[in-house]
């Protein structure tokens, strides 16, 4: 059943990559909203 390990490795890798990218989007969003708030205060 060694081959099955590769199957699950592939599926997990796919979602790790997607989650990582979505995470970077969330981080950039919050940073921009923070900047917008600071600019609004000025």
């Amino acid at each position: 059943m060694n081959a099955i390990k590769f199957l699950f490795a592939a599926y997990i890798a796919v979602w790790v990559i997607h989650v990582f990218y979505l995470g970077t989007l969330v981080r950039r969003f919050s940073r921009l909203r923070q900047q917008m708030k600071e600019l609004g205060k000025k």
Partner: protein, 303 residues
């Protein structure tokens, strides 16, 4: 509009779960490869999605370059229409039909693909005017790279148990995908490292170069392979219709997912530009005082 995103997210999540169930449980095991072949249900839809996104980037880049002046825009429009018309006629010429059927493609399928070029061109031009073209370009490039990375990661993971090797340089599809990935990563690097007002033009030019390069990559590797036979990774030939069915389900699910990710990235880019403009306005206003109304247009507006 605001309601749409959460609703679509839920629909997509359900679709993805259903597709996963289909891939792991419903689809029959492969006669030769057993269960490990199921990687195909994530590998191939990601590839198709990446290629679609890069294609949209290419069309948006061409439109962006063309929109620089009206005569160029008109010329581009006629070229695209000509490509569509000539392409369809060529598909139904007897010599070409013979070539296509020997390569395993139906002329009608080829014609449908060809008609997509002008169709995409005009739809994108209508829905994304002016600067929106560039926002679309950067969005599809970035999300395309993510999906392309997935193809390049799942490909070797699939190859290793089945063929005993991680990579075969003559594998035309995986190697072409690698080059496409490299081109678009360099596109993203150019965008990040360039700080001029015309970054967008430079990036659009690079996208055009990349698109010209891809067929050359494909044929160069194809010929290299005929002289140096290599194993083919990723399977080939016809597919069991049940497997094709599951493949399409997964593709639809990933397309919806890609759409949501692109939408988010698009909104992020719009917010980014808004913040940049706000920064610029704030520095124009100077210390104290209300922000001055800018006399020069800060955006390149659609002609």
């Amino acid at each position: 509009m605001k309601r749409l995103f959460p609703i679509l997210s839920i629909v997509t999540a359900v679709l993805l779960a259903y597709a996963l169930y289909q891939a792991l449980v419903v689809a029959p095991a492969d006669a030769l490869q057993g269960d490990v072949y199921r990687i195909i249900y994530y590998h191939v839809p990601s590839a198709w999605t990446a290629f679609l996104l890069f294609f949209i980037n290419f069309v948006a880049s061409v439109q962006y370059l063309a929109s620089a002046n009206p005569s160029r825009k008109a010329a581009a429009k006629w070229i695209v229409i000509a490509v569509g018309v000539v392409g369809i006629i060529v598909c139904f010429l007897p010599q070409v039909q013979r070539q296509l059927t020997s390569a395993g493609m139906r002329p009608s399928a080829m014609a449908t693909t060809v008609i997509c070029i002008p169709a995409f061109y005009f739809l994108i031009g209508k829905w994304f005017p002016g600067q929106m073209l560039d926002v679309l370009a950067v969005t599809t490039a970035e999300v395309g790279v993510v999906f392309c990375t997935i193809v390049l990661v799942t490909g070797p993971i699939w190859a290793r148990p089945v063929w005993g090797i991680w990579w075969a340089p003559g594998d035309i599809r995986l190697t072409s995908t690698l080059v496409l990935w490299l081109i678009y990563v360099s596109y993203l690097v150019l965008r990040r490292f360039s700080n001029s007002a015309q970054t967008q033009m430079l990036a659009a030019a690079l996208a055009v170069f990349g698109a010209l390069d891809v067929p050359l990559v494909y044929f160069s590797i194809w010929f290299f392979r005929t002289q140096h036979p290599q194993p083919v990774i990723g399977g080939g030939g016809s597919m069991d219709p049940r497997m094709l069915h599951v493949l399409l389900i997964n593709w639809v699910a990933f397309l919806c997912f890609a759409f949501l990710v692109c939408w988010s990235r698009f909104r992020l880019e719009l917010l980014h530009r808004e913040v940049e403009d706000a920064h610029a306005m704030a520095s124009l206003a100077g210390p104290g005082g209300a922000p001055a109304k800018p006399s020069l247009p800060l955006h390149r507006s659609a002609p």
